[in-house]
């Protein structure tokens, strides 16, 4: 592998990391928003959200991506590969995040919320000061897990022409007729990132169970 090849893979890495980062960043609050709509039992909307989340969690990212990339221009909304990629990632990850947030909200002790109501805190204050800090803590392992899943799914973006680490590796292999070395470089980039996230998740889980054991 030449230096130029390695540079190409690192360019792919920039694409992977950037798109993953954007997907995670936007997907977190949207997932929370969806979960809140269901928690607040907003009529009709809550049911639509439930359906949306169920379908999106069952849909492979590649199918969703192709749908967005080809169908949106067809109904008059032009969309490029990068935008389609980000949109697909966000839709996908927000659906999974929604379930994580929802579990935390469902487990939230009702009497703490009633206490906040009884002292006259308004809905926004109740949520910001009492609910949110605690559900963030509870949701953290699940959300970090979802982040590592998102990164593992990014190679699929190549179907619409986005050149990520994996696509760059495939290209180089096709050009040099030595497919394995670039793949090994790709592994060397993915593995530490995912491993770091998984370790982070385990660390958070251990810290939380320790905190519960303490009197």
């Amino acid at each position: 592998m030449s230096q130029g090849d390695i540079a190409a893979i690192f360019q792919g890495a920039v694409v992977t990391v950037t798109l993953s980062f954007i997907g995670i960043l936007i997907g977190l609050p949207i997932g929370l928003g969806l979960a809140l709509l269901r928690w607040a039992k907003v009529p009709i909307v809550a049911n639509i959200v439930a359906l949306y989340v169920s379908v999106l969690r069952a849909t492979p990212l590649v199918t969703l991506l192709l749908l967005l990339f080809f169908a949106l221009p067809n109904i008059g909304i032009p969309i490029g590969p990068t935008s389609a990629a980000i949109l697909a990632l966000v839709m996908n990850t927000s659906a999974f995040n929604c379930e994580v947030w929802r579990a935390a909200l469902a487990d939230f002790p009702k009497d703490q919320y009633e206490a906040a109501q009884s002292v006259g805190m308004r809905a926004g204050q109740r949520f910001r000061r009492i609910v949110l800090p605690q559900i963030i803590q509870v949701s953290l392992p699940g959300l970090v897990n979802e982040m590592s899943l998102l990164i593992k799914v990014t190679p699929v973006l190549a179907v619409v022409g986005v050149v990520d680490i994996t696509r760059a590796a495939v290209r180089i292999g096709a050009q040099t007729y030595e497919p394995l070395p670039p793949f090994l470089v790709a592994i060397a980039i993915y593995a530490p990132i995912v491993f770091a996230l998984v370790s982070l998740q385990r660390w958070i889980e251990r810290r939380q169970s320790a905190a519960q054991v303490m009197p």
Partner: protein
């Protein structure tokens, strides 16, 4: 030590959960400085009635007035929005059976939270008052501790301080000692007795007959959603009029004899 200023006026309140009529046409009034105890067997609707007062439960029928202002229904006659209801709730304090402290905040922060955020009072003033309240309930040393480190009795005293920090016109107690180990009940009842003696207007749902007998200015006996009997504690405990009240008190006499208190 009561005046004839009506703090609470409950008129014809009814509430059903599904098929079950939990409250039927309940009416009573509480004057300033009174301590009213709601007594009755489980399922009699006492807690539901209490929770209707600050609209944690919405009554299906009837009206509730706090110092003349209707709870839950605005002047225009429509249901209050969250802002209006919250404003009104700042005048009513509530103490919960399972304390309901906020675990991510320290004791002091728990007490300061609502006056600062819901009432928008200046932080320094709130802090001074909060520390004074914590001293009053005997928990000044624990001000920077997190609730997880406190005993049940300590948590409940924090809960009382938190409710008092709002300077409420009315204090509601929802079985404040039912979740406590017996040896911790006394410290909470002491605080409550002091509050009653100082003229706080209180409505207390409780099974602690000793407290009701000593500290209440009036007791209401509920059975299956209706106010069956009402009167002074002396008269109620010594000579209950209705049969259901008599049965109820007999059960407690037996429990007493078994040496609980």
């Amino acid at each position: 030590m009561t005046s004839t200023e009506k703090v609470l006026d409950v008129v014809g309140v009814s509430k059903r959960f599904g098929d079950v009529e939990v409250l039927s046409d309940v009416s009573f009034q509480v004057d300033k400085g009174e301590t009213v105890c709601l007594l009755g067997p489980s399922g009699s609707g006492k807690s539901t009635l209490l929770r209707c007062i600050n609209w944690l439960e919405r009554p299906d029928a009837g009206q509730i007035y706090l110092s003349g202002k209707q709870v839950g229904i605005s002047n225009a006659g429509i249901v209050m929005n969250d802002r209006e209801l919250s404003e009104l709730r700042t005048h009513i304090g509530m103490v919960f059976q399972h304390f309901a402290l906020w675990p991510h905040l320290t004791v002091l922060q728990n007490v300061m939270e609502a006056p600062v955020y819901a009432q928008r009072r200046p932080r320094q003033e709130v802090r001074d008052e909060a520390l004074a309240l914590l001293s009053k309930v005997g928990l000044f040393e624990k001000r920077d501790a997190f609730p997880a480190r406190l005993s049940g009795g300590q948590k409940q005293r924090v809960g009382i301080a938190r409710a008092l920090a709002m300077r409420p016109d009315l204090l509601l107690f929802d079985e404040p000692t039912s979740a406590l180990d017996p040896e911790l009940v006394g410290e909470v009842l002491t605080v409550m007795r002091d509050l009653a003696r100082e003229g706080m207007t209180m409505v207390v749902v409780t099974h602690e007959m000793g407290f009701a007998r000593d500290a209440a200015t009036r007791v209401l006996f509920l059975d299956r959603g209706r106010v069956v009997e009402t009167g002074s504690p002396e008269r109620f405990f010594a000579d209950p009029e209705t049969e259901r009240a008599q049965q109820f008190l007999q059960r407690f006499a037996v429990a007493n004899a078994a040496g609980r208190h």
